[in-house]
Symmetry: C2
Amino acid sequence: MPSRPQSSDLSGHAAAAPAGLGADQRARRPYRREGEGKRRDDLVAAAVQLVAEGGTEAATVRAIAQRAGVTAGLIRHYFASKEELTRTAYRSVMEGMTQSAVLSLGDASVNDPLERLAVFVAANFRPPVLDPVTLAVWAAYLHRSRTDPAMRAVHETTYLDYRDQLQALIAALPDRPDDPARDRRDAIACNAVIDGLWIEGAALPDSFARGELRRIGLDAVGAILGVTLPHPADPTA
Amino acid sequence: MPSRPQSSDLSGHAAAAPAGLGADQRARRPYRREGEGKRRDDLVAAAVQLVAEGGTEAATVRAIAQRAGVTAGLIRHYFASKEELTRTAYRSVMEGMTQSAVLSLGDASVNDPLERLAVFVAANFRPPVLDPVTLAVWAAYLHRSRTDPAMRAVHETTYLDYRDQLQALIAALPDRPDDPARDRRDAIACNAVIDGLWIEGAALPDSFARGELRRIGLDAVGAILGVTLPHPADPTA
DNA sequence: ACAGCAATTATCCGTTTGTATAACAATTAC
DNA sequence: GTAATTGTTATACAAACGGATAATTGCTGT
């Protein structure tokens, strides 16, 4: 949006001394050399934040650099192009979502298969997964995955990863016949209802009572699988 | 993306006669006056197409105008700003999706409540609803609805509209106790599973066999509601 | 035929964008 | 200490962006 004059001066060069007689002595911005890992992480985090706040169009190279505390040129030093940074950011968000649910099982205190599934499902209905910011990032990147094959590959991988986790939990339920095809269908359906509720809850957070989506989600997954899932205590309450 | 030189000459002014002696007589692009309705529709359709093909960033005023067969300035004649055109385009897509499902019930040949619900559900699993282009447009606009209140209102309205339709069909099922709260929960869950399957199918069309999602969707909705839905014949087969 | 209206084109503007490249300086190696 | 390395800043650039305005032309009523 070029229109409104909004001199932000991201370039970092100090305002030129207007009528400076003689020495035009502008100080160069001091800096520290950080390891490659940290710089890359900082830039990716800055990009994600900006996309969350204002969509992909807000994540310009200058804004990202400013947020990360560096100047714009450095981006091209660590990423071949802005697109590559964008892809990296998307991968980071998607993997973070999957890991959040997986980690909910981490404390091996839950051993009962029904309870394990319930905990896994419930993890999707609280932050940081169920969160308007996460949805914004997810949606902002999703459509790009249509035309960008590399991005589409990232999407496919993370989606199938998550669904496989779910399918494994389903197959481990008691009294379940050994029927992989049915496991697959059930996993697709359960994943879909989780996704759908997640989207609605994140897009319209005020349209649902507290814990309503979690309850609906657990009941729906239970109905699809023909079991009764326990409702785990909400750790955020 | 400024980088690559790509002289497209959207401005519509004919190439200047290079060494024209005397009269610099360039012909002005001829045009026809169209009714306001048609022009607006054309511009909206062009914007949707472009978003579908290349995301919101591809839908610039110049590209939209070119696609619609007019020059860029005309957009501001019909819309106060590009944002207003964008909102209109979003509304158009969302309403089109809802109407497609509603219209599937149009031919009043289906009277049985179970069959009506099944037809309504199945409509979401074929074009133009289940379609990568539709998903791209939906996703491209969704994140914008987070920061733009007007856009969010459009999203909320169309979403609730659709869910209400679904809830009405659910409440009309036989042997169903009069329990609006339960109807609401069931509608939310069914809507979610439909949405989720729709997203997966549109985002990864090659990951599912033909008709697989439709079958899974009908079975899952049936399971949630405790009924057995018939599987309507696929009119596209 | 003619005048008036407004739909449409044409052109200009200031800003922002992603990228390229050169100058510089913090660190490392010797 | 001094030189090489390279992370980082600074600056320039062409292109494209959304918006504003003036010039033109197709249409309509008379």
